[in-house]
């Protein structure tokens, strides 16, 4: 075990996979000697730069994500550092519409093993915060991963690189350098599409991901003081969704709160709620609550930002109401 931050664990997984498989390479803006914004690629240049496997790109997101798709079709396993998730709008065509469709449209002949990494999230860096992951839930063929802890980041990054589909790997800036935990060294792979029950509880299920998982766990601490035992299900992978784990939890608690950093309308929280209504309705003892930002762009001022993003208090409040219903 090694004590690592989210950022260190993510880079450790990339380095491990690059050592393991010559076809893995990484490209993006400012990821070479500079090391990537927020140290997103720290150390990779020193180890792999001379092999030509760490490639600085021009400011051409559509161009280099497209080149990633093309290289993946040709048998490589590219990792593209998109820098910020805000740039998804520039590449959703290459990554999603085309990249996600190629395997199906070619009747299985084409494979696009491409990882796009992107930083996002309301946090200490006060910019580039937008969480756009919900867009991609409507695009068949892509996977979306949003880890909450350093260990999960490591295991899920390894699995993303080994996956034969386009994968968006979301790196929350509020978690990026926010403390270390023990992370398994060497080979460590967590299968995509598997949620993780981060805390057991019998009274109410809180489904979350990334920073919202951290806040849901804090909410569970608050609720415990009132004698309410909340179960926290960390989705880890947003597409494909681990329906089984969510439904199994709701079957036990009968109550569901979904916390999400993407705006409420058309978001992944709605997808989880719809899933439970459709397949777990008989177990529900209370209305489902979605705790998510209002349908406005991420505001700038810190106080406005706090009003925008759900915190532990608001998640706890929704869970308390659900438990009392």
């Amino acid at each position: 075990m090694a004590r690592q931050t989210f950022q260190e664990a993510t880079v450790a997984a990339i380095a491990h996979e690059m050592r393991r498989d010559r076809n893995v390479f990484i490209m993006g803006e400012d990821i070479g000697a500079f090391g990537g914004p927020l140290h997103s690629c720290k150390g990779l240049w020193d180890e792999f730069g001379a092999q030509g496997r760490v490639i600085d790109t021009p400011i051409s997101e559509g161009g280099f994500v497209g080149a990633g798709v093309g290289a993946a079709l040709a048998g490589k396993r590219p990792i593209v550092d998109l820098m910020f998730l805000e740039f998804m709008g520039l590449v959703i065509h290459q990554f999603g519409l085309d990249g996600g469709a190629m395997h199906y449209y070619s009747d299985g002949k084409a494979k696009v093993p491409l990882v796009v990494r992107a930083k996002y999230g309301v946090g200490p860096f006060h910019g580039h915060a937008y969480d756009f992951h919900s867009w991609l839930l409507n695009v068949p063929g892509v996977k979306v991963v949003a880890p909450a802890t350093p260990s999960d980041a490591k295991g899920l990054m390894a699995a993303s690189i080994r996956d034969d589909n386009p994968v968006l790997f979301m790196e929350h800036m509020g978690l990026y350098h926010a403390g270390r935990e023990e992370v398994p060294e060497g080979e460590y792979v967590i299968p995509l599409g598997k949620a993780d029950v981060k805390r057991r509880g019998r009274d109410v299920t809180i489904v979350a991901s990334a920073l919202m998982t951290k806040r849901a766990l804090a909410a569970a601490d608050i609720l415990a003081q009132d004698g309410i035992e909340a179960e926290v299900v960390d989705l880890r992978t947003l597409a494909p969704l681990d329906e089984e784990t969510v439904l199994e939890s709701v079957a036990r608690t009968g109550r569901l709160v979904v916390a999400c950093e993407a705006v409420k309308s058309g978001g992944s929280a709605s997808e989880v709620a719809a899933l439970v209504v459709e397949k777990g309705f008989a177990h529900l003892k209370a209305p489902i609550a979605r705790v998510a930002p209002p349908n406005v762009p991420v505001p700038f001022h810190r106080e406005l930002e706090k009003l925008y993003l759900p915190d532990a208090g608001r998640i706890a409040e929704a869970a308390r109401a659900a438990a009392a219903a």
Partner: protein
Amino acid sequence: MTQSNETLLDLYRLMVVTREVDLAVSEIDGHWHGCDGEEAVVAAAYMGLRDGDTVAPHYRGSLVAAYARGADLARLFAGIMGKATSYNRGRYRSDICGPPEFGVIGLYSGALGPPLSYATGAALAAKLDGTDAVAMAVFGDGSSSRGDCHEAMNFAASLKLPVVFLCQNNQVAISTPSRDRVAGTVADRALGYGMPGVQVDGNDAVAMVDAVAEARARARRGEGPSLIEGLTYRARGHFVSDAADPRPRDEVEAWRARNPIRLFRDRLAGDGVADTAHLDAIDAEVRDQVAAAMAQAQTDPEPGADVLGADDVYA
């Protein structure tokens, strides 16, 4: 560059295939985007590639690209109708999207531009693997206005990737003349990227194949990308049943008089590469082959419900 007689006759044959495919598909598909008048650019772009090379064709000529890489004509025709026998069993249209197992990158979502970057990525893979494979990125004058075109060229030129950018300039994008909405010439842009750029008479098959051969050789030597602009002319509408063609009649007629297949035929006969009877025999053989493939495709079965394959979306 001097091409062998064999190469010239292969080129002629592929141009005739392009024409006959056009005529055959026009009969069954009013939305077929044909290649009438552009056969020299299309055939030169896709002829003579090696295993391991990649093509991202312009949609106008995409089916010929797949055929030139070894795909079966009957199955490609089946793909136009979405038949079960097509390379993807009816999941997508083969007129703009070729089978990837033949090194063809299609137009998967119907928006122009991104395939230039996909070809660039294939070239990046070749460079990383240290092979001498090349990628062909073929696009129209309309697509040359996409940011993707600039991004792919800048990326490829700055990394010296083995790509041949080929602009199939038929001088019109649906209804918009390129002289109105493409500033300067496409070939001249190469100067800005520090790569060779040449404008070629796209109705001169020999000039086209020479330019493509030179650019590919340069790419295989590791000297980086090139840009070729084949200046040709769309002899018909945007698609077969496109009734509205706002272009001046005399301009259309002048270009039709320069039909590239007829010009090439005259040259082959005049230079003694093949006599008229030989060329007629190629024409007849291709016509029969295309007719047989189309007849086969038309009787092929439609896809069953199993092809929808909701569980097949992930690899």
